[in-house]
Structure formats: structure tokens, C-alpha cells
């Protein structure tokens, strides 16, 4: 299979020269006329032949056509299309600025794709999310959340109420490659998973790949969430902000040197700690004693910044960064007890775009990514600290070569130096320090080379074929603590693999096509979790001798059909995914097993599979837009050492998952929106037996994930009011605009299960011991639900 793909690739490359004798290239950047932002995904095509291309993530396009006259259209939803008559008898550089579309109804169109892109593109299982659109959907507590919006797409599920974790086609949360301006974000959640770390005000584009991963992406099994930050307005200074129930945010952007360089700086912070502080700091009026819990609190914040500089027509530089922290603290002065738990991500990307020619575009990046978690505990002269994290230094170079309109070739290289800190602890009791001789770290090299060609074999058949060569080397020795107390030292480990990627599109007619894809992916780093939800304590660990790389094969087949001049898009996709070397903590794992040491002896390994059918019906234009997504799927795990070796459903296995979203332009000022979701209940593990040891009751659980909670469903509604539009027409000098976003989350206050717990009622307190001999004890089960009907309002402004 791999060799056939190679033969096809090289056979097509040989055709390039023959074609290029009589052809010329039109290329350039496409930007928003108002802000100067480079536009991603603009359709550029010849009106007559419909041959075309789209801008890449830097707004660059290159279209090679035979000598002749062409009527080239630049089209981007929400902006006015532009037509350019071009006579191609030599290569042409044409930078385009697209103006705002004054037709109001276009503002609520769901995607910025070329209108028939879903049918004509060879890509499948990919979705773009338009940030302006998700800002109009109802949100929880006023926080616009790109990850929660992604959960509304077929094939992507959440882990339950409030969670912003993504589970794509049966993959775990560590199987998603989440990129922010190419930098990996290792923990994309604030507030223990309730909100994502991405501030929607600073985001330009979100591209989600659920399957058929192109060769330029790798290192994860299931999906890519590629998020591009705004570059910053290079024409005028602009401020955007919002005040919500949970947090406030402010974004500043503007030119540093007009139309040459710009900046954007965006920040967000929660108020929970500030609002609660007066109560926590309150002195008891009767005793005059300060509150024992003074100093406790929780907050998160994030900062996003970016500057760009157009060095020349051929060179552009981008420097972007993200820094976010959650800080949870608890203090009790009654016993001198205090804990502080900070965690968060920091990323930085320096990128250089260079045009070698009109057909060859290069991007070179140096990227830094860091995630760290700390747990600090103190009581009097006792201190204890656990810290863990992952730190990456990454450099990559990507080339985009478009020799003619039939071929789009991508190739490049990627190298990442990983530094893992998988769980170190230090302590102090009085003057005695407990600390390892040196901080335990693990180091790894991860590299990749890739090549892909998106080419048309005929007008109907389009192929995207690629190969990715990946390698992973664990540097340094590994110490394994075994039960027999022997430290087993192992030498370096090397893994090298080839990952073929292939997707095909066969056009049935101008409005429908069939697509298929096959991909193989290796994943060399793993997230280990002891909890049923994703927590900041979860550890990233590298592949090594004991931990083999994860591997997945995915097959997908789909039918795509558009109606009413692409007003309606429909798709039906089926997939089957096999996964091997999946990782779980051993049953009975002790956290101290890997304190100041390798985690290798903490895990057990197994396989999994997932298959399903996804249906998407989307309305792109008109006053009412939105989509209906439905997924029928099954996800299973097979571990020799878990569940007595019997297969069990993954905790995010969902048989049915339905999402309906709708946005309706009621008037010039009002936009209404609604969301309805229905999903099969979570599979969870429940106790089946209990027994007594030492007078205390202990529980035995059987059948991992063997119980289904009740189905999850809810409806949200929202309304966005924009009073300034009409007024601004009358008061043109007034630059201040504002909108009000009203949301009601969970309109009918459905009590969805958040978790189930058990209580032994009637248990008598016997001094310090609870003893079942003394009472008639009745075990009971309780379901806890969060987020009943929750109204919220957010005021957004810009000037």
C-alpha cells in the first residue's frame, strides 16, 4: 500500500514540467480591507472553469493556469467578493483586500469556506468554525468557548456537563493535537475543564480535522484543532472588550507601522476571587477573629499577544505568545494549613514566511510550549511540593509548492525536543529537607519529515496522498522501580515509523461527491490520568522501552451533497478506527510509584476501536443558518490487565449524539440563536459489592464502565442585540459600538448527571470510627447535577 502511494506521487511529480511550459502563476496575499488581517481559506477561482485554490493559513495563495485571459474571483463569506480580470502571459503578483459585505444576512453564515468546498475538496472529516458565528451562539455564564462549540459537531463529544474536553471518534483527550499558532497547547482547559483556554476575541480561524489527517500534521492519533490567532489590525487602533458574569476581557490592536506591522494584545481574567475576598477577609464581629479561610480563592487569567512585520513583499515575520494560569488556593489559619495549586500553559511562536517564487511558499517556525502543574502544601514547619510538566522546543519548516492548478504540494520537516517532568516531590520538616539529588526529568527527540500532494487525476477524481516519516528517541536512561526493589536501567529507545495518508474525492456531479480516506498515525507522548475526568494533575509521559508508541489506523468513507446553490450542505461519513498501545494506569497503581522516577512501571497497555456514522446537515445562507449533526458510534477498549481482560466501553463511548444549532437574523439589531444536544449517557464504573476489613466497609467495583447514566440533553437559547448599528448610521463619527449577548443555558433545567455517588445512610458515628455494627445501614445512590437553567448576559464593545 505504502509503495503504491509513492509510485503515484512520483508519477505525478514527473508530469509537472510538461504542464509548466505554457503556464503562469498568479499569487499574493488576501487580507481584510478594514483590519489588514490576512484571510485564511479565501476561495480564488476562475469563474469560467471553476479551477481554483484557497489561501493558506498565512493568507497566501498561488494559482497556476495556462496562458490566457481569466476572470478571477476572490470570495470569502462575510466579505464582498472581488473579480479581477487577468491576462496571464507572465507570472502575476496580486495582493487583494476584501471589503466588508454590507448585506446583513451574510454575516451569519456558518463557514468561510468556498461555497462548494465540502464537495470539491479532497479533504474529508474537516470542519472550519467561524469565530464570529460561535460568538452568537448561547453560552454558559457568558463565556464564549471554541472547544464547547466544536463539541456540537458530529464525531466530537464531550465528557459530560460543562466539560471542554474533546473526544474525537473514540479517541481520548490526549489524542488531539491542539495548536495555537502552531504551538502545542497541552492542557486546553481552565477551571478544572469547564472552560477552554482560548480567548475568542484573539482567534481568527479554527480548523478541526477529525480524520484523514494531512501529512503535515502528526504526533496524535485522533484529531487536529488548528487555531490561528489574529495578526492585529494594521490600519487603525482598535479596542474590543466584554464584561461577563464570570470574567472580563479586553483586546487592543493596531498598527505599529501602518500596513507594515501591527500588534494585538488580549487578556481575560475571572472575578471569583475578587468577589469572594471581602467575605473571606471579614473579621468576625463577635470574636474579632479574622476568618480562618482568609487567603482562599480561585482565579484564572490568560494573555494572548502577537506582532507581525512585513519585511518585504516576500518576507513576513510573526511573533506570538500565550500565557495562562489557573490558581487555586485554600487556607485554614485554625490549623496553619495552606495549599496553593497553580497550573497553566505558556507558548511562543516565531515564524518567518518567505516566498521563494510565486509557486513556492515557505514558513519556518521556532516554537516554545510549556505546561506545568504545582501542588504546594504547608502547615507550620512542614512543607510539601509536587510539580510536573512538559516543555517543548520545536522548530519546523513547511513548504507549499503549487506548480499548476492540478497540484498542491506540501513538504517539510519538524523537530521537537521534549522535556518531561513527570512528577517530582520535595518536602521539608523543620530543618530537614526531603529532595531528590536532582529534579527527575526525561528528555526526548521527536522528528518528522513529510510530503504530500493534493492533485487532480481527472476533473472528477482528486487525490491527496502523503507520507510522514516520524521518529522518536528517548534520551537518557530510565530507572524502573520494580516490586523486587531492583533499579533496572535501560538504554535509549528509538522508534521510526512511516505514516501513509491518503484521501480521495470522486465528483459524481457538480453538487455531490464521494470521498474516502485512510490514515496511519503514531503518537509518542501520552497523557496518564487517574481520574474519570481530565484534571491538571494528569501527567504527560514519553514513549520508552516500557511504553510503546500509540498507533491508529483510520478508514473513512463519505457522501457529500449540496443543495440550492450550496445553501444546504449535507454529508454522511462512516469511519472505522483501530488503536493499539493505548495506555492506562495499572489497577491499584500507587501515585508514589513514580515519584521522582520514571512512570514506566505504572501503566498497562491495551487496544481499542471505534466505528460510527456521522451525518451533517448545514444551512449556510439566509436569515436562518445552522446545522444538525448526528453520530451513531461505538468505542471499545481491550486491556489484558483491566476488567479481567474483558472488553469494556471507553468512558466517552456514545451510541447516539445529536446536536442542533440555529441562528436567526430577526432584524438589523437582533440575532436569535439556539442549541439542542442529546447524547447517550456516560459509561461509568459502579460498585457492586462491599466487604468489611477492620470494621470498615470497602467497596468492590466490577465491569469497567459497565453502567450507563441517563441520557444527556439540554436546550440553550440566546439573543444578540446590537443597538449601535442603526445609531451609527446617524452618528457616523461615533466609533463606539457595543452588543449585548443574552443567553439561557439549559432552558428546561434538565438535571443531567454530572456524577453519581453513594452514601451509607444510618451509619453511626462512633467516636472517630464509623462502624457498621452499630446501626441499620442503608446504602443509597445520589445523582448530582450541575448547571440547571442559567441565564447570563455579556456586554461587548469595540471602538
Amino acid at each position: 500500500m505504502k509503495f503504491r502511494i509513492l509510485i503515484i506521487l512520483f508519477a505525478n511529480i514527473l508530469c509537472f514540467n510538461a504542464f509548466s511550459q505554457n503556464s503562469f502563476t498568479i499569487s499574493g496575499y488576501v487580507q481584510d480591507d478594514e483590519s489588514g488581517e490576512n484571510l485564511i481559506g479565501v476561495s480564488i477561482y476562475d469563474k469560467l472553469s471553476l479551477k481554483g485554490t484557497v489561501t493558506n493559513q498565512y493568507g497566501f495563495y498561488s494559482l497556476t493556469l495556462l496562458k490566457g485571459k481569466y476572470d478571477i474571483t476572490y470570495s470569502f463569506i462575510g466579505l464582498e467578493s472581488q473579480n479581477k480580470s487577468v491576462e496571464l502571459n507572465n507570472d502575476v503578483r496580486l495582493n487583494i483586500s476584501l471589503k466588508s459585505n454590507t448585506i446583513l444576512t451574510d454575516e451569519v453564515i456558518v463557514t468561510g469556506e468556498k461555497s462548494d468546498q465540502n464537495v470539491s475538496s479532497s479533504n474529508m472529516s474537516q470542519v472550519k468554525i467561524e469565530v464570529s458565528n460561535i460568538k452568537q451562539l448561547p453560552v454558559i455564564l457568558g463565556e464564549v468557548d471554541v472547544l464547547k462549540s466544536a463539541q456540537l459537531l458530529p464525531g466530537i463529544t464531550s465528557n459530560g456537563e460543562g466539560s471542554s474536553g474533546l473526544y474525537v471518534r473514540g479517541g481520548g483527550p490526549d489524542q488531539n493535537l491542539i495548536l495555537l499558532d502552531e504551538a502545542v497547547v497541552y492542557n486546553a482547559s481552565h477551571l478544572f475543564g469547564f472552560f477552554s483556554v482560548f480567548n475568542a476575541d484573539a482567534i481568527k480561524d479554527i480548523n478541526i480535522i477529525k480524520g484523514g489527517m494531512p501529512a503535515e500534521y502528526g504526533g496524535r492519533l485522533s484529531s487536529v484543532l488548528d487555531i490561528s490567532m489574529k495578526d492585529g489590525n494594521n490600519k487603525k487602533y482598535q479596542a474590543d472588550g466584554g464584561i461577563g458574569l464570570l470574567s472580563s476581557r479586553l483586546t487592543l490592536q493596531g498598527p505599529i507601522q501602518k500596513e507594515k506591522s501591527s500588534f494585538i494584545l488580549s487578556g481575560r481574567r475571572t472575578y471569583i476571587d475578587v468577589l469572594s475576598q471581602p467575605f473571606l477577609d471579614r473579621v468576625d464581629p463577635e470574636t474579632g477573629e479574622p476568618n480562618a479561610f482568609a487567603g482562599s480563592g480561585y482565579y484564572f487569567y490568560d494573555l494572548t499577544s502577537k506582532i507581525n512585520y512585513r519585511v518585504s513583499d516576500k518576507d513576513r515575520l510573526y511573533l506570538s505568545g500565550y500565557f495562562g494560569r489557573d490558581v487555586f488556593s485554600f487556607a485554614n489559619s485554625d490549623n496553619g494549613f495552606a495549599i496553593e495549586i497553580p497550573w497553566g500553559n505558556a507558548t511562543g511562536s516565531l515564524r518567518w514566511n518567505h516566498l521563494f517564487s510565486d509557486k513556492l511558499f515557505m514558513n519556518t517556525s521556532i516554537i516554545f510550549s510549556d505546561y506545568r502543574f504545582e501542588f504546594n502544601l504547608a502547615q507550620s514547619d512542614f512543607e510539601f511540593k509536587i510539580f510536573s510538566g512538559i516543555n517543548d522546543w520545536n522548530t519546523k519548516v513547511d513548504f507549499l509548492y503549487q506548480p499548476n492548478q492540478r497540484h498542491t504540494i506540501k513538504f517539510g520537516a519538524n523537530y521537537t525536543y521534549h522535556i518531561f517532568t513527570p512528577g517530582n516531590a520535595t518536602g521539608r520538616a523543620g530543618d530537614v529537607e526531603f529532595a531528590p539529588d536532582e529534579i527527575f526529568r526525561q528528555y526526548s527527540n521527536e522528528g518528522a519529515l513529510y510530503f504530500s500532494d493534493d492533485f487532480e487525476l481527472s476533473d472528477d477524481l482528486k487525490v491527496n496522498a502523503g507520507l510522514r516519516y516520524s521518529s522518536f528517541q528517548h534520551r537518557g536512561d530510565i530507572n524502573l522501580f520494580t516490586y523486587l526493589k531492583n533499579d533496572l536501567t535501560l538504554s535509549n529507545d528509538n522508534y521510526r515509523n512511516i505514516e501513509p495518508r491518503l484521501s480521495l474525492r470522486y465528483k459524481l456531479n457538480t453538487t455531490s461527491s464521494i470521498k474516502g480516506s485512510y490514515s496511519e498515525n503514531y503518537q509518542y507522548i501520552h497523557l496518564a490520568s487517574t481520574s474519570s475526568v481530565s484534571l491538571p494533575t494528569d501527567l504527560w509521559v514519553p514513549s520508552s522501552t516500557g511504553i510503546k508508541p500509540k498507533f491508529a489506523k483510520q478508514y473513512a468513507l463519505g457522501y457529500f451533497k449540496n443543495f440550492n446553490d450550496n445553501m444546504f450542505e449535507t454529508s454522511l461519513e462512516g469511519y472505522y478506527k483501530e488503536m493499539t498501545n493505548l495506555i492506562e494506569y495499572r489497577e491499584g497503581y500507587l501515585p508514589e510509584d513514580n515519584t521522582n522516577s520514571s512512570s514506566d512501571n505504572s501503566f498497562t497497555f491495551g487496544d481499542g476501536d471505534s466505528y460510527g456514522v456521522e451525518v451533517l446537515l448545514k444551512k449556510n445562507r439566509g436569515k436562518t443558518t445552522g446545522w444538525i449533526g448526528y453520530t451513531l458510534s461505538k468505542t471499545t477498549r481491550y486491556f489484558d490487565e483491566v476488567n479481567n481482560g474483558l472488553e469494556f466501553p471507553a468512558k466517552y463511548d456514545r451510541r447516539h449524539d445529536l446536536s442542533i444549532t440555529a441562528t436567526h437574523q430577526l432584524s438589523n439589531s437582533w440575532v436569535l440563536s439556539g442549541v439542542f444536544v442529546y447524547a447517550t449517557g456516560n459509561s461509568i464504573t459502579l460498585p457492586t459489592e462491599r466487604y468489611v476489613i477492620g470494621g470498615d466497609v470497602y467497596t468492590q467495583f466490577t465491569a469497567r464502565n459497565g453502567y450507563r447514566t441517563t441520557p444527556y440533553h439540554r436546550m440553550d437559547i440566546g439573543a444578540t442585540y446590537t443597538p449601535s448599528k442603526r445609531k451609527n448610521k446617524k452618528r457616523k463619527n461615533k466609533k463606539f459600538e457595543s452588543t449585548w449577548n443574552f443567553s439561557i443555558y439549559n432552558v428546561y433545567s434538565r438535571k443531567n448527571p454530572y456524577f453519581i455517588y453513594f452514601a451509607l445512610e444510618g451509619l453511626e458515628e462512633d467516636g472517630e470510627n464509623q462502624n457498621i455494627q452499630n446501626g441499620n445501614v442503608e446504602p443509597k445512590a445520589y445523582q448530582v447535577s450541575i448547571f440547571p437553567i442559567l441565564p447570563s448576559v455579556t456586554w461587548n464593545f469595540n471602538f
Binding site: S531, Y691, I693, D696, T699, Q783, V784
Partner: protein, 343 residues
Amino acid sequence: MCFISCQEEISLDFPVGAQQIVVEGGIEANMPPYVILSKNQGYFDEINSNTYQNLFIKDAEVVVWTTKEDGTADSIFLQPLPPPFDSIPIYTDINYLASLSNPPYANNQYLNNGFNFSQENKTYNLIVRWNNKKITSQTTIPSITPLDCLWVEKNEFTDLDYEFDIRAIYNDPGETQNNILIKYRKPIHWGVDSLTGQLKDESDALMELIDAGTDILINGTRFETYFPQKGDGNFPAFPYNTNRYETYENNGIEDSVFVPNDKVIIKFCQIDEPALRFWRSIVRQFGSNGNPFQEPLNIVSNINGGYGGWTGYGSVYYTIPIIDGFSTNSPLPTDSIEITDVF
């Protein structure tokens, strides 16, 4: 989050698990082994004193055997203690106990004769047969590592002048990665009934588990520590009490009682790795107390074919009266250890 959440009782259909034998057993140097056998029950089965008593197995065949230096097996049969010590059937070497000068099993009696069957650094096998079921296990009695010294010191987090902590210095052997288990019992602990003002005996009948863990972090270190009580999350939230006068209101008249000081017995043990995994899982499940976010953790048994644990203890015992300034570096001699602290 509490202001936007709610809970309701739900009913669930549970599968019923097969009946299993649950073992709680141990062996330590120079002491007879003991085993308590019980059965599991369905999670939603009723629990009261009758069902509780019915959980215990009284008619099992229990054998402990080891290999002698010459390679031959040495074994003893364990039988339940006779009445009136049979409310909970404790299997032990009752023939040996009966041979002691002053049964039934009071302290200071049996050890004078010595009990050579159980020794440090030897491995002991357990076989239990009951109801056509056979379960087995194995454990090793590790070497003993005593504490350097212990003393009583005023608790620094309270203004009450009768609340004290037990502190100690421990010198961990650096050449081995050993596992530690700590139990305690308060044979003397008096409280004052808040309603009547009368003194109330709140002493412990049995040893309670404080904690179990490896020495990975402290390996080879000499340091000062303290002993929390069960369920304190490793912090001395519940200090021990010295003697004091307690005042109370009795029919409008202020009166006072004299409350004697606590006495604490600490059992400081080394255990092998399978036993550590069993006891750590006990601590974790007790501590998680049904935490719904914790991936469910079964008790890690070292019993083949059953539940529970069979533990070899490298034990050392200390008796600590809670008297200001008391200190000791002397473990209890074996002939002063009460049998209830062994079982």
C-alpha cells in the same frame, strides 16, 4: 459551584457479584498468625448487626506454612478463638495459646514460651478452604527498623493546654526501599459527655490504621516526624490529651471532672510490597470515600481467589502516655505486647 448544583436520590440496577472469601490476616515475628474470614455482600444489601455477624466465616480450614532451613515444610492449623472471644471469629494457633499458663489469652502470658514458627525475613503461605473453595496467599516478614526516639510535645495549633502530639525521629535505612505501615490504639482515652458531664470511656478496642507507604521520598534520611490519627489526612488535627479538669453545667450548677490522660500504643511496621499495595488501597479507598472523580479503585488484594490481605509485619511497639515531656527510645518488650494489638 454549590449554588448551581443539585442532587437527587436515584435507583440503580446492579449486577450481583459472586460470593468471595475476604481475608484479614497477619503474621509477625515471635507471634502466632491470625486470620479473620468473612464474605462479601451485594452493594445494596441491608446492613445491620445480624447481617454483619452473618458475614463472618466460622467453619473454614486455615493453614499457615513455611519452609524450614532444611527445605521441609512447617505448618500450623489455625482455629477460631473459643467463647467468649468468638463474637468475631479470629483464627489463630489456639493450641499454642491454650498451652500458656493463663488463658484465655490475657496479655503477657503466651510469649514467655516463645513462638519460633514466625521469624523475620521468612515467607509464610496461607491456605484457606471453605465451602468447596480454596484461596491462597503469601507474605514475608521484613526486618524491623525501630524509631530512634519518641516524645510528647504540646500541639502548636491549639490554645488548649492539654492537647499534645506524639513526635518521633526516624532514621530510614538507605540501602533498601522499604515500606512502612503505622497503626495505633488508645487503650486509655476519656471524654466528657457533653449532656451529663460524666466521664465517658472512649478507648479503642482494636488497632487502627494510620497510613501505609513507601520510603521513596525519605529513603536514607533521618528526620523528625509526628503521628497523626486515623483519617486526619496525615495532619495532627486531633491531638492527644493530657489530664485536665473539665468544667460543665449540671442543673445550673457549674461542676468539674478530672479527665485522665490518654495512653497510646503505636505499632510501627515494615511490610512487603504486595502487602503495601493492599494497605495503600485500603487507605486510598477510605480516604477517597466515594469520590466520584476518582477512577474507581478496588482494594488490591494479595489473596489468590479471594479478597483482602495477608500481611507479614516487621513490627515494633511503643507505649506512649500523653504526659508533657515524656520521651522514650525503647520499644515494648515482646512479653509486654497485648495480643489484641497483634490481631
